[in-house]
C-alpha cells in the first residue's frame, strides 16, 4: 500500500506529536477543500529513496544557491564522480528555493538531460531522480523548465528497469497539472500511446501499473481534458487495460486498482456517451468488484484504504448507468447481488464516512430509476426496511432514500401495497413533519402514488391519522406543499374521511 503503513507507523512512533500531526492534517484538508472549490485540486507524488522513511526537507547542510552552482560546476567538470554529485544534487533539489535556483541557472537543464541520456546507467538513474524532485515542486514554472527531458522520459517508459520506469512515470505525472503548455507538448510527444503500451507490457509489474495509472489520472483531471485528452484516451487501448487491472492483487495490495478506478471515474464522468466503455464490460466489472468489496467490508475485512477503491467504483457505476439502456441492464449487470451489496455498504459507512454512504444511495437511485427488476429485488431481498431506517439522516441521504422508495412505488401497484406493509406510511407520517421542505414534498409525492394505487393504502393512511398532517400542510407557506396536500385531500382522501366521520363521530 502506498505509504499507508508508513504513515501509521510514523504516527505511532511520535506519540507526543500526534496533536501536531492532527493539526497539520486538518490544515491540509482545509486547503484541499478550498483548492477544490477553486477547481485547482492538484496533488503530486514523491517517490522516496529506499533508504528514506519519510520526506525530510530539513537537511544536514542548509542548501542554498551556492550549493547548486557549485554542484553544477562539479558535474560539468568532474569525470568519475558524476554519480555522487548527482546524488547530492537530488538531495539538494528537495528544497523549493534550490529548485528555483536550478531552473534559473543557464544550461542546468541541458546538463541534466545530457546525463539522463548518457551511457552511465547509474548516472541516468540519479539524473531522473533529480528531475523527479524538480517535478514535485509546487511552483508552476518549474515543470515547463523540465520539458527538454520529456521525450526521453517517454522513451524510457518501455525500458526494463522497474525503479527507473517508476521514476519517469511519476515525474511525468507530477508535471501534467502544472500548465497547458506542458500537457500539449506531452500529448504531441505521444504520452497516451506510451502509457498504453507501458501498462500493457508491464501488466505484471504492478508498481509500474500503479505509476502509469497515476500519471494518466493526472492528465484526465486537467481542465481541458474533456476536449483535448479524453477523446484520445477513449480511442486508445487504455480503457481495456485499465479494466483488466481493476481487480486488486491480494499480495501487492489495492494501490494499482485504486489508480485505475480513479482513471475510469474521470473518463466516465467526462463524457455523456459511455457506450464504448459499456461494450468493454465496464459496468459489469465495476459492479462485480463492488459486490466483492461490499462482501469483504460486511465481513469485517476492512482493509486499509479500501474506501479509496470503493469510492471511484461507485461513481463509475452510478454515472455509467445513464448510458445503459434499460433493455441491456440485465445483460450488463450480471451480478444480482449488487443491490444487497450497496445496502450493506451504506450501513457499513453511514457513521464513519457519511459522504460515501450518500454516494452509495445515489447509485441505488440510478439502479432503481428505470428498472422494475431492481425495484423488485429491493423488495424481495428485504432491503427496504433498512432503507426506511435511514430516513432520519439528512444532508442528502434521506432525500435520496425517498427517491429510491418513490422509484419503487412508481413501478407497480403491488409494490405500493408491499411498501405499506413494510411500514412506509408511518415513516411518511414522520417525514411529513420534517423541517426540510424537500423531504416534505417528496413524501407527498410518494404518498400520492401510494394512495392512488390502492384503496387499502388510502384507508391505512387515514387510519394512521394522516389526514391531520395533510390539513396542516394546506396552509403552509410553500406553494408546492399547499397544492399537493390540498389535491390529495380533495381528490383522493375525502371519500375515506367520510368513513371515519360516520364511524367515529361521537353523538353530540
Amino acid at each position: 500500500m502506498w505509504r499507508l503503513n508508513k504513515v501509521r507507523h510514523k504516527a505511532g512512533q511520535q506519540g507526543g506529536n500526534l496533536d501536531e500531526l492532527r493539526l497539520k492534517r486538518r490544515e491540509n484538508e482545509r486547503a484541499l477543500r478550498q483548492a477544490r472549490r477553486d477547481r485547482q485540486l492538484v496533488s503530486k507524488r514523491l517517490l522516496l529513496n529506499e533508504d528514506e522513511e519519510q520526506p525530510d526537507v530539513s537537511m544536514d547542510t542548509a542548501p542554498g544557491g551556492h550549493d547548486i552552482v557549485s554542484l553544477l560546476h562539479k558535474l560539468q567538470h568532474s569525470g568519475t564522480e558524476k554519480e555522487a554529485h548527482l546524488k547530492a544534487l537530488s538531495k539538494v533539489l528537495r528544497d523549493p528555493s534550490a529548485q528555483l535556483t536550478f531552473i534559473k541557472h543557464e544550461n542546468s537543464m541541458h546538463l541534466l538531460v545530457g546525463l539522463l541520456t548518457g551511457s552511465n546507467a547509474q548516472c541516468r538513474l540519479q539524473a531522473v531522480r533529480c528531475l523527479h524532485e524538480l517535478s514535485h515542486s509546487s511552483h508552476t514554472n518549474v515543470a515547463p523548465a523540465c520539458l527538454p527531458a520529456t521525450p526521453y522520459l517517454l522513451t524510457y517508459l518501455s525500458g526494463p528497469s522497474t525503479k527507473f520506469t517508476e521514476l519517469c512515470l511519476y515525474t511525468l505525472g507530477n508535471m501534467c497539472p502544472d500548465s497547458d503548455v506542458v500537457r500539449e507538448k506531452l500529448l504531441a510527444q505521444g504520452i497516451i500511446p506510451a502509457l498504453a503500451s507501458c501498462i500493457e507490457n508491464q501488466r505484471h509489474t504492478l508498481a509500474v501499473v500503479e505509476a502509469a495509472a497515476f500519471t494518466l489520472s493526472q492528465l484526465l483531471q486537467a481542465r481541458d481534458a474533456p476536449e483535448k485528452i479524453i477523446p484520445i484516451v477513449l480511442k486508445s487501448t487504455l480503457p481495456s487495460h485499465l479494466l483488466s487491472v481493476l481487480t486488486p492483487d491480494p499480495q501487492f495490495g489495492l494501490a494499482p486498482a485504486i489508480e485505475c478506478a480513479w482513471c475510469l471515474h474521470y473518463l466516465i464522468c467526462s463524457t455523456d456517451d459511455n457506450k464504448e466503455l459499456l461494450a468493454q464490460g465496464a459496468l459489469s466489472q465495476c459492479s462485480s468488484l463492488l459486490v466483492s468489496l461490499g462482501g469483504a467490508v460486511t465481513e469485517g475485512n476492512k482493509e486499509d484504504g479500501i474506501e479509496l477503491l470503493i469510492w471511484p467504483l461507485l461513481r463509475c457505476v452510478g454515472n455509467i448507468l445513464s448510458s445503459c439502456p434499460e433493455e441491456d441492464l440485465n445483460a450488463q449487470l450480471t451480478d444480482a447481488h449488487l443491490p444487497a451489496s450497496l445496502c450493506a455498504l451504506v450501513q457499513a459507512y453511514l457513521h464513519t464516512l457519511p459522504a460515501l454512504a450518500r454516494e452509495t444511495v445515489w447509485v441505488l437511485n440510478n439502479l432503481t430509476a428505470h428498472s422494475t427488476e431492481f425495484c423488485s429485488a429491493l423488495l424481495t431481498l428485504n432491503l427496504v426496511p433498512g432503507l426506511i431506517q435511514l430516513l432520519p439522516f439528512s444532508q442528502g441521504i434521506n432525500t435520496m432514500i425517498l427517491r429510491i422508495l418513490a422509484n419503487i412505488a412508481h413501478k407497480k401497484k403491488e409494490f405500493c401495497v408491499q411498501l405499506m406493509q413494510l411500514g412506509l406510511l408511518s415513516a411518511l407520517c414522520a417525514t411529513l413533519k420534517m423541517a426540510d421542505q424537500e423531504m416534505v414534498i417528496q413524501s407527498l409525492d410518494i404518498l400520492f402514488m401510494m394512495t392512488v394505487s390502492s384503496p387499502v393504502v388510502a384507508e391505512e393512511f387515514v387510519r394512521q391519522d394522516g389526514l391531520s398532517l395533510l390539513e396542516v400542510l394546506q396552509y403552509n407557506g410553500a406553494a408546492e406543499m399547499r397544492q399537493r396536500s390540498t389535491y390529495l385531500l380533495e381528490k383522493h382522501l375525502l371519500s375515506y374521511q367520510q368513513h371515519i366521520t360516520v364511524d367515529n363521530m361521537p353523538d353530540p
Binding site: 461513481r315 457519511p354 432503481t368 412508481h410
Partner: protein
C-alpha cells in the same frame, strides 16, 4: 432515456433539481395508465418521475471523496478516522401556519402539537390540553342550548375526570375545584367568558365574520356554523350585528350582514397563510356543531 445532467448547486440537500421530463407512455401497467390520466388532469401538482442522475467530476456531492483521494496522494491518509464526521439528523418543524417551532426529535414535535394544536376550539381558536376540556369548553362557551339549560339546571361539570358533580354556576364550580380538588384560583382552563375582555371578543367576532365571507364559497356548512354560534353574552348591539343571520341563512345574507357592520375585509387569496377559524385540525378536535352539520374540507 430519462436522464438529467446535474449542475453544481450550493446546498447539498438541494443538489437534485430535475428539469421537466416527459412521462413514459409505453407502460402497459395499469398503474402507469392511471397515472397518465392523472397527469392529464391540469390541476395535478404531482410531478415525480424516476430519473437517473448524472454527476460531473466537480459536483459538490463528490467533494469528500475527492479530498480523501488527494489526502492519500499527499501521504496524509490515516486509516482510522480520528474525528468521526458528524452524521446529521433531520429536524422536525411544526407546519401550522404561524407556528415556527423546530424540534430535534419527533417526540418533541408530537408533544408540542398535542399541547398546542390538537384540541383547538373551532370557534375561538383556544387551545385546550385535552379532548374532555375541549368538549366542556365548547359546550359552555359556544352552545346556546347550554346557556338556556344552565338557567334552570346544574350544567357546569366539575373539571376533574371522574368527579361527576355538576353546578349551577361557573363560580360554584370554581369554588368546588379550589376547596375539594385543591386547584389554584387562577386555573388557566377555567376562565369565564367575561374575563376575556370585550375588546378581544369583538375583534374575534368580526374576524370570524370576515373569514366566513371568503370561505363560504369553498366549503359547505361554514355559514351555518358561524351563524349558529351562540351569541356569547349579548352585549348591546355588537353580537346582533355580526350574528344577524338565521340558521338557514344563505351566502348572500351573510355577505350582506358582514358588509353592514363595516367595510368588507379585502378578499383573502384561496391559500391564505392564516388558517380560517372554521377549519380545525387534529384528530378529535372536530367537535360539536361542525361535526354534526358540516363536512370537513
Amino acid at each position: 432515456m430519462d436522464t438529467v445532467e446535474v449542475l453544481q448547486v450550493d446546498r447539498k440537500e438541494a443538489m437534485l433539481q430535475p428539469e421537466a421530463l416527459q412521462l413514459r407512455t409505453e407502460g402497459r401497467d395499469e398503474q402507469q395508465e392511471r397515472r397518465l390520466s392523472e397527469s392529464e388532469d391540469g390541476n395535478n401538482p404531482f410531478s415525480f418521475t424516476p430519473q437517473i442522475i448524472r454527476l460531473h467530476k466537480d459536483h459538490e456531492l463528490f467533494e469528500d471523496g475527492d479530498i480523501h483521494r488527494h489526502m492519500y496522494l499527499q501521504d496524509l491518509y490515516i486509516s482510522e478516522a480520528e474525528d468521526k464526521p458528524a452524521l446529521s439528523v433531520s429536524e422536525f418543524a411544526c407546519h401550522i401556519s404561524g407556528c415556527s417551532a423546530v424540534f430535534s426529535a419527533l417526540e418533541e414535535y408530537e408533544h408540542h402539537y398535542n399541547a398546542l394544536h390538537r384540541h383547538v376550539c373551532c370557534s375561538c381558536r383556544r387551545s385546550l390540553p385535552s379532548a374532555r376540556l375541549l368538549d366542556i369548553h365548547i359546550q359552555e362557551w359556544h352552545d346556546s342550548l347550554f346557556t338556556i339549560l344552565a338557567q334552570k339546571q346544574d350544567m357546569y361539570q366539575c373539571l376533574v375526570e371522574g368527579c361527576g358533580q355538576t353546578f349551577r354556576t361557573n363560580k360554584h364550580r370554581k369554588d368546588h375545584l379550589i376547596r375539594i380538588h385543591k386547584y389554584p384560583p387562577d386555573f388557566r382552563f377555567d376562565k369565564t367568558k367575561k374575563e376575556r375582555g370585550r375588546e378581544t371578543k369583538r375583534k374575534e367576532q368580526k374576524d370570524a365574520a370576515m373569514e366566513v365571507v371568503d370561505d363560504v364559497c369553498e366549503s359547505e356548512g361554514v355559514c351555518e356554523v358561524m351563524c349558529n354560534s351562540p351569541s356569547d353574552e349579548p352585549e348591546g348591539g355588537e353580537s346582533m350585528e355580526t350574528h344577524e343571520c338565521e340558521e338557514k341563512a344563505s351566502a348572500e345574507d351573510v355577505l350582506a350582514a358582514a358588509q353592514d357592520t363595516e367595510s368588507t375585509a379585502p378578499r383573502k387569496p384561496q391559500y391564505s397563510y392564516r388558517i380560517p377559524n372554521t377549519v380545525c385540525f387534529g384528530h378529535g378536535s372536530v367537535r360539536g356543531f361542525r361535526g354534526r352539520r358540516g363536512r370537513r374540507k
